[in-house]
Symmetry: C2
Subunit: 195 residues, 2 copies
DNA sequence: TGGTTAGCGGAACAAGGCTCCGTTTGCTCA
DNA sequence: TGAGCAAACGGAGCCTTGTTCCGCTAACCA
């Protein structure tokens, strides 16, 4: 909410009022559309729901990835910030890692189509990749490092690879009663463990 | 190869010679196109490569899944048949399971886009799902069962879920040097183990 | 060899992404 | 305050890709 561009600083010359209003409206419409139809809902649908033309969407969010990032930014930030907290408060580093991964999984499986988009190699999702990785890989790396240092897990696990694998496991996790991504992810976490 | 419809029996009234020829040509063209452009290469491209009209493709293979199944049938059969063999010849059931899963992974990661298609919930891939599952789930179940009976792995793993998870892990495994599906799958197999 | 019809090709339609440009409207400054 | 200007808007329209449909061609059979 709030403060899309109040020009906290620098050169950006503060957008026109209607532009700011539209951006807000679009975010709301997109968030709603993502819930009902998944993150690859047709652009036209979002535009219609927001009561704007498609051109307006492309002006504010050049790629679908930009729109997705804008919609989910807060939740991703929250997830990223939870990492250090869990590490500080939790019992063992391995438990903190497990809990953090669960947060990530819960986030992904409740967003229709997001896990798919995250793994897509379509150039349009470049930004999405970049944002998620830049925000989450360092957090995951720190958790892995702590657990490895404590001797709880094998020391050779790469954070990028783990996140990517976990993301993959979340694909199709909604709408399929016979497949539980959480259970598979638990298996991976268990497999990390030294014994 | 060969013997697309030599009418080994029953009612089907033996297709015309040109139809059989075209089916053969299409399979070759599709196999080649899948390699160079992945399994979601445009239908027009396959038609052009085969020198036929798009209508001809749809007549022989109503959905893309039918074409994919036809192209990879032999390899899937081989994988399915390897299961019992590994179980009979291998050292322990867990080792046989691990080796069989590796076969499956090797198959998937060398087919651009196949793992994605396999998890897609698009109705057009229904047949693909059905075929892979009907062929591989029983094999996997038998391997799991043997390993569980031997007390090597937890007894509550579902074959469908495991295959689905492994399939998911293979998504995007080509073309990404930082992600190794085999390593992630090994983690899962390790996680299955009792200790 | 001629009639029947399976099978063929590709035009045409639908759906969705993305661009481009004529029009509208918020903002600034005299 | 209102005239001028550029930012922003809307949506027609183009492109790609999937899918259908139908007039034509040529295998097959008697």
């Amino acid at each position: 909410m709030v403060d899309i561009d109040s020009g906290s600083g620098s050169s950006a010359p503060r957008k026109r009022a209607d532009a700011r209003r539209n951006e807000e409206t679009l975010l709301d419409a997109a968030a709603a559309a993502f819930i009902t139809s998944g993150v690859d809902v047709p652009v036209r649908d979002i535009a219609a729901k927001a009561g704007v033309g498609v051109g307006t969407i492309y002006r504010h969010f050049p790629t679908r990835a930009d729109l997705i990032v804008a919609v989910y930014r807060h939740q991703v930030e929250a997830c990223a910030e939870a990492g250090p907290t869990l590490l500080a408060n939790g019992s063992t580093p391995h438990a903190a890692l497990a809990r953090w991964i669960n947060l990530f999984v819960d986030f992904l499986v409740t967003k229709r189509g997001l896990a798919e988009a995250l793994q897509s190699d379509d150039a349009a999702f470049e930004t999405l990749h970049a944002y998620f990785l830049s925000r989450l890989v360092p957090v995951c790396a720190r958790l892995l490092d702590a657990a490895a240092t404590a001797g709880e897990i094998r020391p050779d696990m790469d954070a990028y690879e783990l996140l990517r694998g976990v993301g993959n496991l979340c694909i199709g996790a909604d709408n399929n009663p016979r497949y539980d991504a959480r259970r598979m992810v638990e298996l991976v976490i268990a497999g990390l463990r030294l014994h």
